[in-house]
């Protein structure tokens, strides 16, 4: 089980959290002018890296806030967490 450092509440066990997928995926700014390929990229395509990955978690049984987390997908070691909305690390 991961020990996840919530930026607001501190380190808590994984059971308190919900994984919320890859971070920093922005919805197309102008939907009317967005082609099918770009929608596909936004909706379905994921980088799924073997190594450094930036993902969102929600502290569902705590502060209930979303935040971003940098984790290595080979070792599962968490490098850092930071509030949603901050620049990509």
């Amino acid at each position: 089980m991961l020990l996840i450092p919530c930026p607001y509440c501190g380190p808590r066990p994984e059971l308190e959290f919900r994984h919320a997928g890859e971070a920093h995926i922005a919805r197309p700014a102008n939907p009317d002018a967005t082609a099918a390929g770009a929608w596909s990229e936004y909706l379905y395509v994921r980088s799924n890296p073997k190594g450094r990955h930036i993902e969102r978690w929600r502290h569902a049984s705590g502060c209930n806030r979303f935040f971003n987390c940098v984790r290595d997908t080979v070792t599962d070691v968490i490098e850092a967490t930071y509030p949603a909305g901050e620049a990509r690390r």
């Binding site: 099918a36 390929g37 596909s40 379905y44 993902e55 599962d76």
Partner: protein, 416 residues
């Protein structure tokens, strides 16, 4: 040497010292007509059908580890075809029909055992969902029948149908032709049969790059054992599909999750069938060795670690202990994880890619083992002809652009 009663007796009298190696261990040639990346069940089946049905002999299967050492050796070996959508039914039923005489086809005992797969309903929603599946399956010509809780218990006597359970069993869907097979034997049988037809199976050969010529088409692969040229490459790399496709610059609609399983100490036969429960995240069968084989749901996060959180296995064992109180005091011998590549619609991707000459067979998620023969068969057709077989045509990569998804979330094994 063929496996036959004659050879079995002859070798028994010769102390079983005369059995040859089941497949060669060749050094990679500089060039092949076709390369399959990944020597799991699906990759080996692809190579076998390329050789057996399409007459291609100058092909190689490249494997970074050992043959059948990934998800083929890590799954819980369940076979069934009772999927909801017509496209899926045709794909998985194609596989079940190949399973039925696979041992004879390969001259290798894959121990296919159609002992019945029973999926438990614990809520009214489950009942409605399963009955919808049963009706859809009847229209598709696939066997799947509804059982009451009492009938379910008669089919699997150790099942607890006490109404006081937190999630009581209120019925079940049973596919009698579903069952299990010996997962390692499937990889070995395909490897042996493909090797006998001249396919080079090259283990410990990691693909590190995919080469493309001036027109953008595939021209070969870079590996830990040197460059190998080929005009067609089929990627069958399960959890590592995103990584391999990334080498050709193709981004995939995939995420790789750990999926855990565990086995108990071996005991006398107690479990005559496979029982699955999507609602409480547990499934169990008994191997021919006597171990209870138990599968859990996927972990919450993406990972390539081939391990998962203990709380996931505990959650599954809680459910197993409720459903099968007779096994409560058994010890678990081993647990492990595999990395499964999950698509947004929980259906596989089998077909062409934007790169000419590059083909992909991936996205089998939590339920790829059951499809091994069918997957290899249609993917071999795709590789040999350059166009998808009618059965895998709907499972294109392009469906994530056109929106023609095959949403099997309700039918997939667990945790969706």
């Amino acid at each position: 040497m063929r496996h036959s009663i004659f050879n079995l007796v002859r070798q028994a009298f010769a102390g079983n010292q005369g059995w040859p190696r089941q497949w060669r261990s060749p050094a990679p040639k500089r060039a092949y007509d076709m390369i399959v990346v990944g020597a799991g069940g699906h990759g080996l089946a692809t190579a076998y059908y390329l050789a057996a049905e399409h007459g291609l002999r100058n092909i190689a299967v490249l494997e970074k580890g050992w043959l059948g050492g990934g998800n083929t050796g890590r799954n819980t070996t369940i076979i069934r075809s009772n999927y909801l959508w017509e496209e899926s039914q045709k794909l998985y039923e194609h596989a079940v029909q190949l399973w039925e005489d696979l041992s004879q086809t390969l001259n290798y005992n894959v121990m296919y055992s159609p002992r019945g797969v029973m999926m438990l309903a614990h809520t009214q929603h489950d009942v409605q969902s399963f009955q919808r599946h049963i009706h859809a399956n009847r229209l598709g010509g696939i066997d799947n029948e509804w059982l009451t809780a009492e009938q379910a218990q008669a089919f699997c006597p150790i099942l607890n149908i006490d109404p006081s359970l937190r999630y009581p069993v209120i019925g079940a869907a049973l596919q009698r032709r579903g069952g299990t097979a010996r997962h390692d034997a499937v990889a070995w049988g395909y490897a042996r049969a493909a090797d006998a037809l001249g396919v080079d199976i090259i283990e410990n050969c990691t693909v590190t790059g995919i080469d493309r010529d001036a027109s953008g088409a595939v021209s070969g692969v870079q590996t830990s054992r040197g460059a190998i040229r080929a005009a067609r490459v089929g990627v069958v790399a399960a959890g590592h599909s995103s990584v391999l496709m990334g080498m050709a610059g193709v981004r995939m609609p995939l995420e790789s999750y750990p999926l855990q399983a565990l086995v108990s100490e071996p005991v006398k036969p107690v479990m005559p069938c496979v029982v699955m429960s999507n609602t409480v995240h547990a499934y169990m069968s008994q191997s021919d060795k006597g171990e209870l084989v138990i599968g859990a749901g996927t972990d919450a996060y993406t990972s390539y670690s081939q391990t998962g959180g203990l709380h996931i296995a505990m959650h599954t064992l809680d459910a197993i202990c409720e459903l099968f109180p007779v096994v409560r005091r058994m010890r678990m011998l081993r647990n492990w994880g595999g990395i499964v590549d999950v698509t947004p619609d929980r259906s596989p991707i089998i077909g062409k890619t934007p790169v000419p000459g590059l083909f992909v067979n991936c996205g089998w998620g939590t339920g790829g083992f059951k499809a091994t023969p069918g997957s290899g068969h249609v993917f071999a057709h795709t590789l040999a002809t350059g166009e998808p077989h009618p059965i895998n045509a709907p499972f294109s990569l392009d469906r994530f652009r056109t929106g023609r998804l095959i949403d099997e979330a309700a039918a997939a094994a667990v945790a969706h």
